[in-house]
Amino acid sequence: MLEITNLHAKVGEKEILKGIELTVNAGEVHAIMGPNGSGKSTLAQVLAGRDTYEVTAGQVLYDGKDLLDMSPEERACEGVFLAFQYPVEIPGVSNLYFLKTALNAARKHRGQEDLDAVDFLALVQDKTKLLGMSEALLSRPVNEGFSGGEKKRNEIVQMAVLEPRLAILDETDSGLDIDAMKAVAAGINALRSPERAIVVVTHYQRLLDYVVPDYVHVMSDGRIVRSGGKELALELEEQGYGWLGQEAA
């Protein structure tokens, strides 16, 4: 589903991704771990199409199509979803209106009619309940005045409504208490299916107790330096990332 080959990207003059190689197949859950500054979030943002990063080399294929050639909205309509590490506050746009506009954009792209108001509301209420998010937040402006946990839940509600085929979660677990963590994990697990793939970017192992990955990758200095099964996450939990420096040296 996703094939990343020799991906290089920079912001300004600073090279952050230095040759990423990663293949993700449908039905798989991958975890990307690594210390701060290793390039995890940059990779997530580049895949979503953020133009502050300049791709200088490499290729990303999504279902065999050139992902880097698509606008952010095309990627979203094709089923790519990024749960933001820092969800953006949008004063003046209600959460519900935002969700409806996003969902109908994707439906239009697929040649489907807009969902009618009743069905849409039922869908959103269903997902909101699953994520344990207060329904009152739906009529509020997007993320405005939300707590950290509410923002992260809101990301997962969006994901649940949009039902992406490739979901990339950028440190969705950071700053969550255990209840929120379980709710977010339930949202992610509900999306798992043979047709979908999930990439979880995280600094810690604890989310992976609830969302068990098929593969774990370790990033360091803009590259994936180690890959393995779910046991690699446990190993990292014990050893930390200190060994990365030694290995590189």
Binding site: S71, E73, R75, A76, P87, V88, I90, P91, A102
Partner: protein, 414 residues
């Protein structure tokens, strides 16, 4: 510079056009105003207060006697008004409430230093009186609609409004100016508002003039003790527009909120000039003006706040935020704080920027096309001001009108 020659008309030449329709005291005021106008002439961009707004195109219209028409006004109040409330033409008011008019008319909008107000006062004849007696609450909004005549040739009108809100009275007023698309005219409007002790007034001034029209509008407010005045100055139309709001917080504990929203496109020029005069202690003012500029549009915001020596414990906040949708749009924003008291809190701030890049990417990453995302964020920027409007029907109407205008500009490739 071109087109800046100061016009100083002889008052004798204008004299025959003043009709002696009112009482003698008014005739004296008109004659004074005419003399004053002749002395002042029209402002030019050499005047600090008119630095960014060139009124030369207006002067050519305003001085042609053949173009003057009576202001066409439509008054609407749903159902019957509470007992004692008077909403009528000035002509009728001269007969019905001569003492009230003599006390207030042309007493609050000073013309000593102001050519347009002087001109309006010199031709003072058409207009509206709204009088809400002490203690009366008018629950339904009252609308004053000034529609420019669409008779195929340029016209000039000088509408005048006087609102006297008695002690502890409450009302909501919408003053609206409009004209047929594409028609050329000049509306020179002056409104005076007097709030008695504890009075509460919500006042919307809506300018949706033709994009080729000239509009000058002055709103002068005098607030009594513990009164509360809220204005919403919304400008969507007009080719060259100058809105002035002058509020004098003349009683202790008075509260004043000035809200503004302007959206300009093409070659529109919209100038908002506000003055809040804190004259007595413990008064509060909140001011927020927001602008959206597209195409080659220009906007000016000049916000003056005066805190008099005795106005201790004044609390004043002023903000002006502008969203530029095009590289060719221009905004000039200028705060002017004159503080003579020492125990006060005054803050001001102005921003001029583009659509937030993070918010835009966030919307796009959810599948919303760039143009639609931009439109959504622009409407949301204005939404904060529209949400403040007290009249619900107006909120929906304005949100729709604004969205349509922004859409049209986008579709037009501007």
């Amino acid at each position: 510079m071109v087109g800046l020659d100061r016009k100083r008309p002889e008052s004798a030449a204008l004299e025959p056009r003043i009709r002696a329709a009112g009482p003698p005291w008014l005739d004296r005021i008109r004659a004074d105003a005419l003399d004053r106008f002749a002395g002042l002439g029209f402002p030019t961009t050499h005047d600090e207060e008119w630095k960014y707004t060139n009124v030369a195109p207006i002067t050519r219209l305003a001085l042609d006697p053949a173009l003057r028409v009576p202001a066409a006004v439509e008054l609407s109040a749903p159902g019957s008004l509470p007992k004692g409330v008077r909403l009528c033409s000035l002509a009728e008011a001269f007969r019905a409430e001569p003492d009230l008019l003599e006390e207030h008319l042309a007493r609050h909008a000073g013309f000593e230093r102001h050519a347009f107000v002087a001109l309006n006062t010199a031709f003072l004849e058409d207009g509206v009186l709204l009088h809400i007696p002490d203690g009366v609450v008018v629950e339904q909004p009252l609308q004053l609609l000034f529609a420019a005549a669409a008779n195929g040739r340029p016209t000039v009108s000088h509408p005048r409004v006087l609102v006297v809100a008695g002690r502890d009275s409450q009302a909501t007023v919408i003053e609206s100016y409009r004209g047929a698309d594409g028609s050329v005219y000049f509306t020179n409007a002056v409104t005076e508002v007097v709030l008695g002790e504890g009075a509460l007034l919500d006042y919307t001034r809506l300018v949706t003039e033709s994009d080729r029209a000239f509009h000058f509008g002055a709103l002068h407010v005098r607030q009594g003790r513990s009164s509360s005045f809220t204005s919403h100055s919304v400008t969507l139309g007009g080719g060259l527009v100058r809105n002035e709001v002058g509020a004098v917080l003349a009683g202790e504990g008075a509260e004043c909120s000035l809200n503004g929203l302007y959206a300009a496109r093409g070659r529109q020029h919209i100038d908002n000039y506000t003055t809040i005069d804190h004259a007595r202690p413990h008064s509060t003012s909140h001011e927020l003006y927001k602008g959206i500029l597209d195409g080659h549009a220009q906007a000016v915001f000049h916000g003056r706040i005066i805190v008099r020596r005795e106005a201790q414990k004044t609390d004043a906040i002023q903000r002006n935020k502008n969203l530029l949708l095009s590289e060719d749009a221009v905004v000039n924003t200028k705060p002017q704080l004159e503080i003579y008291a020492d125990d006060v809190r005054c803050t001001h701030g102005a921003t001029v920027g583009q659509v937030d890049a993070d918010a835009l990417f966030y919307l796009r990453s959810r599948g919303i096309a760039q143009a639609q995302a931009r439109h959504l964020l622009t409407c949301a920027f204005a939404g904060e001001m529209i949400d403040r409007l007290k009249v619900e029907a107006l909120r929906g109407l304005l949100a729709e009108t604004l969205a349509g205008r922004l859409e049209a500009e986008r579709g037009g490739g501007g």
